[in-house]
């Protein structure tokens, strides 16, 4: 089917109309980041999504933003988003509380290829808020743990106070079947853990490069250096995936705000095979 018709279908199917979800819970994560749990309207079918996908969230009267789903994937009765309050819409969402309404469109976009990497060691490299879009992938990997080799999560954050999902990370660290390292850009002397950049964890991380796949999410500069280190270790470029962030508006590849060369990040991404986007990321004007 031609793209234009497919897009028109998506629009007709209601992809551009927000559905009013109610806030069930709000949990502060850090000084500027919070997690909200949203419930669909009564009688609505269960919400279904794959790890790495995103929703457009509407702060009524302010605007709309693309936010990755950060909760367990699959068919769910409530959805989870972890949001950093940095602009007008996210600040409005931060202001809301239990029982308030948020408009939701989605889920949109591509997913982390969890099935495709079965049998591989899987390395997740997360920087800052990039841990949120990777969390559903980790849930998926752990839910079928026997299908994968080693699972390694490398997390970088600005300071210990900026770390997301602190309790959950501590719980995962207690497992014997997943390796987790957390590192901060800077820390006070009372922090006895690692200090440095997340990419510095890659050379010694416990995985076998030729049979490893990596999912990377964070600031683009961080991802570039992480990719370099992974390739230096010998991870095949064909098994590297990144999640990109662009100025997404419609979510269905109609408006062109997030266009990157021939790709629409909202429709063809946000999760891309590294080899597919590398040529376009190298062009500043795109």
């Amino acid at each position: 089917m031609p793209d234009a018709l497919r897009h028109a279908d998506a629009a007709r199917a209601g992809a551009l109309e927000p559905v009013p979800f109610r806030i069930r819970r709000v949990t502060p994560e850090t000084r500027d980041t919070f997690t909200i749990v949203l419930a669909p309207p009564a009688g609505a079918p269960p919400f279904s999504f794959r790890p790495g996908q995103f929703n457009m969230l509407w702060g009524f009267g302010v605007g709309e933003v693309p936010i990755s789903l950060s909760g367990p994937p699959g068919e769910v009765r409530e959805i989870v988003h972890t949001i950093r309050a940095v602009g007008p819409v996210t600040q409005e969402l931060h202001r809301l509380g239990r029982g308030d309404t948020v408009g939701v469109r989605g889920p949109f976009g591509t997913a982390w290829p969890v099935d495709e990497v079965a049998g591989c060691d899987v390395v997740l490299v997360a920087g800052g808020i990039g841990l949120a879009p990777l969390r559903p992938a980790l849930y998926a990997l752990l839910s079928e743990r026997a299908r994968f080799g080693r699972i390694v999560l490398l997390v970088g954050a600005r300071t210990p106070g900026d770390l997301l999902f602190v309790n959950e990370l501590a719980a995962w660290r207690g497992r014997f079947d997943v390796d987790i390292e957390v590192i901060f850009d800077r820390a006070a002397p009372d922090w006895h853990g690692l200090v440095g950049v997340v990419t510095s964890l890659i050379p010694q991380a416990p995985f076998t490069p030729p049979k490893t796949a990596a999912f990377i999410c964070g600031p683009e500069i961080m991802m570039n250096f992480a990719l370099l280190e992974l390739e230096r270790r010998g991870v095949p470029p064909s098994r590297l995936w990144v999640s990109l962030e662009r100025n997404m508006k419609c979510g269905v590849g109609l408006c062109g705000h997030c266009q990157m060369g021939p790709l629409f990040v909202c429709r063809d991404g946000p999760v891309f095979p590294w080899e597919r986007v590398a040529p376009w990321l190298a062009i500043r004007e795109v």
Binding site: R186, L194, V195, V197, T199, Q204, P219
Partner: protein, 154 residues
């Protein structure tokens, strides 16, 4: 003593692929050291007469400033290297190095090594090449820390 350290040195990534005769020369400058948690391995301004390779534990590179207290810039763990001031005049530590955990390390005598580099330029070139790689990695990391990757404007 040096007999026992050679096989240990051979397992350290810094010395990957190094000729056995070069390793033999280096091992003559190496010694085991231990630092208790909180103990300084080096102090800013002191003579940088050695560098460290952590065998087990964690060392922090720290700087102290008025009103800021101590700030940790970098931590170094198992098999990683700390210190290159021994290579660069005036051979003084620019930062503090402090053990965060009980730490066993190899200390390599900088003056001893520099003497061997003078008489064996191939060994000197080998070690310089390896330290340039290390410095490049640290410089890249420091640049990423400097731009505040995860800040609001990231």
């Amino acid at each position: 003593m040096t007999e026992t350290l050679k096989p240990i040195l051979a397992t350290i990534p810094l010395f990957d692929g190094m000729k056995p005769e070069h390793l033999e020369l280096i091992v003559g400058c190496a010694a085991n050291v231990h630092f208790a948690p909180g103990e300084f391995a080096a102090r800013q301004g002191e003579a940088a007469d050695r560098f460290f390779i952590v065998r087990k534990g964690r060392l922090a590179l720290q700087v102290h400033g008025p009103g800021r207290g101590e700030v940790t810039l970098l931590t170094v763990g198992d098999n990683e290297v700390l210190g290159w001031s021994w290579l660069v005049p005036p051979y003084k530590w620019h930062f503090d190095a402090r053990a965060l955990t009980d730490t066993r390390a190899l200390a390599l005598d900088g003056r001893c090594l520099r003497g061997k580099f003078e008489s064996d330029h191939e060994l000197g070139y080998e070690m310089m090449t390896r330290f340039v790689q290390l410095m490049t990695q640290r410089l890249e990391a420091a640049s990423l820390q400097l731009i505040d990757l995860y800040g609001t404007n990231a």
